[in-house]
């Protein structure tokens, strides 16, 4: 299972408690994880990236294994530790606004 951590506002919007666990078929990439997340929680469509798999929203960041993956290609494989569920995939609202 893939473990996903959402920012608090999106947890509230999705009415999800704590980490979200997702089953992803095929290669584990940022795109496939977000596809699975949006399939589970359609309300999140458009809040993390554009509709229909569009680009990441500007103030959203993706982290895993202490690395910033925000600028990686959406179809690049995620680290093995994320694919195995050892480490979570973090969706973060960037700190901004003073």
């Amino acid at each position: 299972m893939i473990r996903v951590v959402l920012p608090a506002h999106l947890r509230a919007l999705a009415r999800a408690d704590g980490e979200v666990e997702l089953r992803v078929e095929g290669p584990v990439t940022q795109c496939s994880v977000l596809d699975a997340l949006e399939a589970r929680y359609p309300v999140l469509r458009g809040t993390i990236r554009g509709h229909n798999g569009g680009p990441r929203r500007p103030f959203i960041r993706f982290y895993a294994c202490a690395e910033d993956l925000s600028h990686e290609q959406p179809d690049a494989p995620l680290p093995d530790a994320v694919a195995s569920g050892t480490e979570p995939y973090l969706i973060v609202g960037a700190m901004a606004g003073g």
């Binding site: 920012p7 506002h9 999106l10 919007l13 309300v43 469509r45 458009g46 809040t47 993390i48 509709h51 929203r57 103030f59 959203i60 609202g93 960037a94 901004a96 606004g97």
Partner: protein, 371 residues
């Protein structure tokens, strides 16, 4: 017993304020959607329990919420606002072409007779319509693609379509206003549009009487006399007696003719309310005195309404969508401030008292009169 429900959108959530017809004791519900900007909340005239809310965030984008029980519970509906076709460009602040980009929904206007139909005015300026209770949205592109569109420029708050008025006397007639393009009218349910800005004068644009380019802040209409419209422009309070074909100024004796909201008494089509604000950049009440001005003559002659409002050291603003009236026998008037106060008058403006004092900055106020 009849009652009122005041729907308040703020920078950090929505609030629902409820009272019986006496409007003396208020129940406060909220914040709903805490931490999100709630640009507008409005109820369906056809089903008062159906409410729509525009929930936005610079981080997470646009969400539309719907309640089917008068605000007790909410569920998100559709949030995909895709412009029709390739949207092209408008002018940026520096005059260069800038692609049309959806930012947020400023205003939601439910249909007068169908609870499943609702219109949305968005930034960058466009008009969308949902016929399924907000689940799906389709642009009415005739407004954005008007031949003048490539020349529209944003106002300081963005290029927003902030006012939508559905004409109760002529089905299919819609008025819309855009900062800073001006007022527009459709007579075919939003398919085609014409600018309706004749008579406006704006000193900040090269041709002060141009067909478009005016910073219209708000339009208001009394439903019993829909051919008469009132306008609060960046400067000037204006009136039209011919469905916006032409306008004339009715600022009269106002201390300043700048402001944002304008509204009309529920039972007196010639009684109009504005909140004068010092400008160009101050955006607080003149002399630190928060005064609503009322005209009982359809403009020109204005009286200051001060009883119960702070008359010294008050430096809040009242934004364009933050005033509303109820339709009880003694018309109630409501407005919210950027300081977080929501004031109510149960006597048509003669006296005021705060319902709440310390909300986040108020973006919008709407009122439902309940049976």
């Amino acid at each position: 017993m009849s009652g009122v429900r005041v729907l308040v959108g703020t920078r950090k959530g929505a609030f629902v304020l409820s009272a019986d017809g006496k409007r003396g004791n208020w129940a406060v519900s909220g914040p709903h959607f805490p931490g999100w900007e709630i640009y507008h909340v409005k109820g369906s005239p056809a089903d008062p329990d159906r409410l729509f809310a525009s929930q936005t965030s610079g981080w997470f984008g646009q969400v539309i919420q719907r309640s089917d029980d008068g605000g007790a519970s909410w569920n998100p509906v559709g949030n995909e606002f895709a412009y029709d076709g390739v949207p092209g460009t408008h002018q940026w602040y520096d005059g260069t072409p800038h692609p049309w980009e959806f930012a947020r929904v400023w205003h939601l206007e439910p249909s007068l007779d169908d609870p499943d139909t609702v219109y949305a005015g968005v930034e960058d300026a466009g008009l969308f319509k949902s016929a399924d209770g907000g689940q799906h949205w389709q642009e009415l592109p005739g407004l954005r693609t008007h031949k003048s569109g490539p020349g529209w420029q944003p106002g300081a708050g963005g290029m927003c379509l902030h006012t939508i008025i559905l004409d109760p006397g002529q089905p299919g007639r819609i008025f819309a206003a855009i900062s800073a393009a001006g007022a527009f009218r459709s007579d075919d349910d939003g398919v085609t549009w014409q600018p309706v800005n004749r008579g406006l004068r704006s000193e900040g644009i090269p041709d002060s009487g141009a067909e478009v380019g005016h910073c219209v802040h708000r339009l208001a209409m009394h439903p019993s006399r829909p051919s008469v419209l009132y306008m609060q422009k960046h400067w000037d309070v204006m009136r039209s007696d011919d469905s916006a074909e032409s306008w004339h100024e009715v600022s009269g004796n106002l201390p300043t003719d700048f402001g944002f909201p304008i509204d009309v008494h529920a039972h007196e089509p010639d009684t109009v309310y504005v909140v004068p604000i010092t400008s160009d950049s101050h955006h607080f009440p003149p002399e630190g005195k928060l005064r609503v001005y009322r005209s009982r003559t359809g403009g020109d002659d204005w009286e200051a309404l001060t009883r119960g409002l702070p008359q010294d050291h008050c430096y809040v603003n009242v934004l364009r969508d933050a005033m509303a009236v109820d339709s009880l026998d003694e018309c109630g008037v409501y407005f919210g401030t950027t300081g977080g106060q929501v004031y109510a008058s149960a006597d048509a403006g003669d006296s005021w008292s705060p319902i709440v004092r310390d909300l986040p900055a108020v973006l919008s106020v709407e009122v439902q009169t309940l049976p």
